[in-house]
């Protein structure tokens, strides 16, 4: 139980002299914005001077009700939970495994791997976002490489078909040739022509007899399957590249943190266990993991709060699109607060409150797990 320190006593005065500045700073910088955010989330404030400007009042939980019926909010929440999942169950285990391999010198050149894995953390998230956006772009290097491969393959098959027909009158293309090409092209032919065989014949017959090489090249351009990043356009899969980049970028951070804590474990204990016949797996399960349980919980809290706040990387990479399918809560909140010229501050603050509540719930679950299953450091 906290001791009472009456202001009249010397101890009390000393206590308040030291505590008060921090308390005031905390109230102004931390507590006041949080309280204000709570108030705004149940108000009809829509910008302008807060005091002395337009009248605004507390209207209750309407903004929360509006959130509940907005599918975009649920989509953003779902995406955020994916990020939390990949952070807690992807970055932390992966970071730990890599740190273990490096600290136990189970890989060659440990310093090199440590540096390589950590490097993405020192690059600006915006740069990383743009870099991966370019890689995943329909005009980016990945599409370019795959399309070249597809085209080369299609070209050789197409050339073989032409060869099998030998010499034919280009102004009177045989139906069977057109049909074979349509069969080779598959869905691409259907997407380009309403009547594939007839339309393809028309197109081929517009070429001259001495343009057969050009014709094969052009048909390859037109009909070769395209490797497109179509999965970026589907709500079920659009988050995959984002999750991959998040995993790629932040695993190094957890690696460093685990490495620092692994260094603190007495090597003699591990050596003694090994001499007693413990396997590498037993060392990890019975010595290292219990020693790091507190660290794992702290990193999980860090991962959860970081995941719920994630903004810059996704904003730079996808902007929440297309059609909001990669939007997360922070982008949704930002959109409501600042975009489109009409600003919805109550809704944006309601989102912030939801994020805080979710953070507390997830951190509570993590702490409960640690209490039940964690060891003592």
């Amino acid at each position: 139980m906290a001791r009472k320190r009456p202001l009249g006593t010397e101890e009390g005065r000393a206590y308040w002299t030291m505590v008060l500045p921090a308390f005031v700073i905390y109230m102004v910088v931390m507590a006041f914005p949080i309280l204000l955010s709570i108030v705004l989330s149940v108000s009809n404030y829509n910008g302008g001077k807060m005091f002395g400007g337009e009248q605004w009042t507390v209207i209750g939980f309407q903004p929360y009700a509006r959130l509940g019926i907005d599918p975009a909010f649920w989509m953003a929440l779902r995406n955020n939970l994916f990020i939390v999942f990949i952070s807690v169950f992807g970055q932390i285990p992966l970071g730990f495994i890599l740190a273990y391999l490096i600290s136990r010198r189970l890989v060659k050149f440990p310093d090199f791997w440590q540096t390589v894995i950590y490097i993405p953390n020192i690059i600006s998230v915006v740069v990383v976002g743009i870099l991966w956006q370019t890689i995943f772009s329909p005009y980016g290097p990945l599409s370019e490489i795959f399309n070249k491969l597809y085209q080369a393959n299609f070209h050789s098959h197409l050339a073989a078909i032409f060869q099998s027909f030998g010499q034919f009158d280009i102004k009177n293309v045989p139906d069977s040739l057109a049909q074979k090409i349509v069969n080779l092209a598959g869905p691409t032919a259907a997407s380009n022509f309403s009547n594939p065989v007839a339309d393809l014949k028309d197109l081929m017959q517009s070429y001259d007899a001495n343009q057969s090489g050009m014709l094969v090249n052009d048909l390859t351009n037109l009909l070769a399957p395209k490797w497109s990043m179509d999965f970026l356009n589907h709500r079920e899969t659009a988050m995959l590249p984002v999750l991959f980049v998040i995993l790629w970028m932040y695993t190094g951070l957890y690696l460093i943190m685990f490495l620092a804590n692994l260094e603190k474990i007495d090597v003699q204990i591990i050596e003694a266990a090994r001499i007693d016949g413990a396997s590498e797996g037993q060392v990890m399960r019975h010595i290292i993991l219990p020693s790091l349980s507190g660290v794992i919980v702290n990193l999980a809290i860090l991962a959860i709060s970081g995941s719920l706040n994630s903004f810059a990387l996704i904003y730079a990479m996808t902007g929440g699109g297309p059609a909001r399918i990669t939007e997360v809560l922070s982008i949704y909140m930002y959109d409501k607060a600042f975009m489109n010229g009409a600003f919805d501050y109550p809704l944006a603050n309601a989102v912030a409150m939801v994020m805080v509540v979710i953070s507390f719930i997830l951190i509570g679950i993590t702490k409960a797990f640690e209490k039940k299953f964690g060891g003592k450091e």
């Binding site: 772009s137 052009d218 699109g321």
Partner: protein, 437 residues
């Protein structure tokens, strides 16, 4: 005698004092919209410096941003309820909050009458601004839909500028066979399809009168004409006229794609012409003036099946500068702001705007023979448009326009039907309308 001397001294003192006050410097905080990468930016910088040199009694503290960062900064100013003294703004759309909160002064009462007389009546229409008054003087009428056409590319492939949609559709396999993108658009930003193409489609198929009826509650977005307009967007994607890849194409990428001959057409707003012009500092251009003249054309989107307003193109009052409503009327700061705006809308600045291709001025007396072909072609394009129509984000509230913008992308992705998008819009409109009561 003494009294006379004292009186003279008093007058001299007052004159001296007023002289001193006249010399007092006024600081104007200006939020300008400028893209430093745009050709013509150096001319703009030079003119700002000239104004500063010519007006030592005014100190300009200028902040320059463009695109989203600009709008975000405005949002924070609006949230604080304190706009900069002079700021760049739109008559509605992204400046809706600024306008509706009346954060800008009425320029019709401040700017010289002889200056305002140089603008066409349509640009001075107070009802065309969300504020209901002249909160900014539009420096141009913006045509948001232009089909930039690579005529040489078409010609090289035995094609010509299409007059109908059917003709455009027929070109697609031929262009794709040559590895050419038929129509480039940057639809990653949701506003682009709505502003640069769909508003025109909606205007041609449904018409402005239909939108007016919806706003008046006498029609619904789910009615046949509007759903038909949305369905046409679906057709564009299904026919391959516009690639679904365009939904992943950032806005900054398309000028390069078009200028390098990778696309036969580019659909964008009239402002995009400036991206192709010569940058005076480097002397380079994405499309050289000679090529602009010989190889390119600016045309309207071809005739759409079922259109009832042939040739209609979406257009909206352009941007301008506003003066913060918070500046006390008649103060030295207010006078300085008016002086700045009078100069900004003046002949020298406006001519620079025309010559750099930044915009085609609405001001009637601006002519120049130092313009590049695209700028001349743009004026001719304006003249060729028989009828202009609404840009939908200029007439619909953001709450209604957001499901439209998102929905146009969803149609492109094939994740939502045109009817479902119309239904979402109507629901958003009903909610918004109910909240206005």
């Amino acid at each position: 005698m003494n009294k006379k001397i004292i009186a003279i001294l008093m007058v001299a003192l007052v004159a001296f004092a007023s002289g001193v006050f006249a010399q007092e410097k006024v600081t104007l905080n200006v939020l300008n919209y400028a893209d430093a990468t745009q050709a013509g930016y150096s001319d703009e910088v030079a003119l700002w410096a000239k104004f500063q040199a010519d007006n030592p009694d005014i100190t300009i503290v200028k902040e320059e941003l463009n695109n989203e960062p600009f709008h975000q900064k405005v949002a924070t100013y609006v949230a604080a309820g304190q706009m900069p003294d002079v700021f760049y703004s739109w008559p509605g759309g992204r400046s809706t909050a600024v306008q509706k909160k009346h954060l800008a002064k009425d320029l019709s009462k401040l700017l010289p009458k002889d200056l305002l007389a140089l603008w066409p009546a349509a640009a001075l229409n107070p009802k065309a601004q969300d504020s209901g008054y002249l909160s900014e003087l539009p420096r141009a009428i913006t045509y948001t839909s232009v089909m930039y056409t690579n005529v040489k590319l078409l010609k090289d492939n035995g094609l010509a500028i299409p007059k109908t949609y059917a003709e455009l559709k027929r070109m697609v396999p031929k262009l794709k066979a040559k590895g050419i993108i038929p129509v480039a658009m940057a639809n990653k930003d949701t506003w682009v399809m709505q502003s640069c193409l769909f508003s025109t489609i909606s205007g041609r198929i449904a018409g402005d009168a239909f939108i007016d009826q919806v706003l008046a509650g006498k029609a619904k977005f789910t009615d046949k004409p509007f759903v038909a307009a949305l369905t046409f967007v679906d057709t564009l994607y299904k026919d391959g006229v516009i690639s679904r890849d365009s939904i992943q194409t950032p806005y900054g990428d398309v000028p390069g794609i078009f200028a390098s001959g990778k696309a036969a057409f580019l659909i964008d707003g009239d402002w995009r012409q400036a991206a192709f012009l010569t940058d005076k500092t480097s002397g380079t251009a994405l499309i050289s003036p000679a090529a602009q003249k010989s190889d390119f054309a600016l045309v309207e989107f071809p005739a759409i099946p079922g259109e009832k307003n042939p040739g209609l193109i979406s257009a909206v009052l352009g941007t301008g500068m506003s003066i913060s409503a918070a500046i006390p009327a008649g103060s030295a700061k207010a006078k300085a702001a008016v002086k700045l705006l009078t100069w900004w809308y003046g002949k020298e600045w406006t001519t620079m705007g025309l010559e750099t291709g930044a915009y085609i001025p609405a001001r009637k007396d601006i002519k120049s023979d130092k313009v590049e072909p695209f700028t001349t072609m743009m004026s001719a394009y304006y003249a060729s448009v028989p009828k202009t129509g609404y840009v939908l984000d200029g007439v619909l509230d953001a709450a209604v326009c957001t499901p439209l913008n998102d929905g146009l992308q969803q149609i492109g992705l094939g994740t939502k039907t045109p009817a479902a998008v119309a239904s979402d819009m109507q629901a958003a409109f009903d909610t918004w309308k109910a909240a206005q009561k």
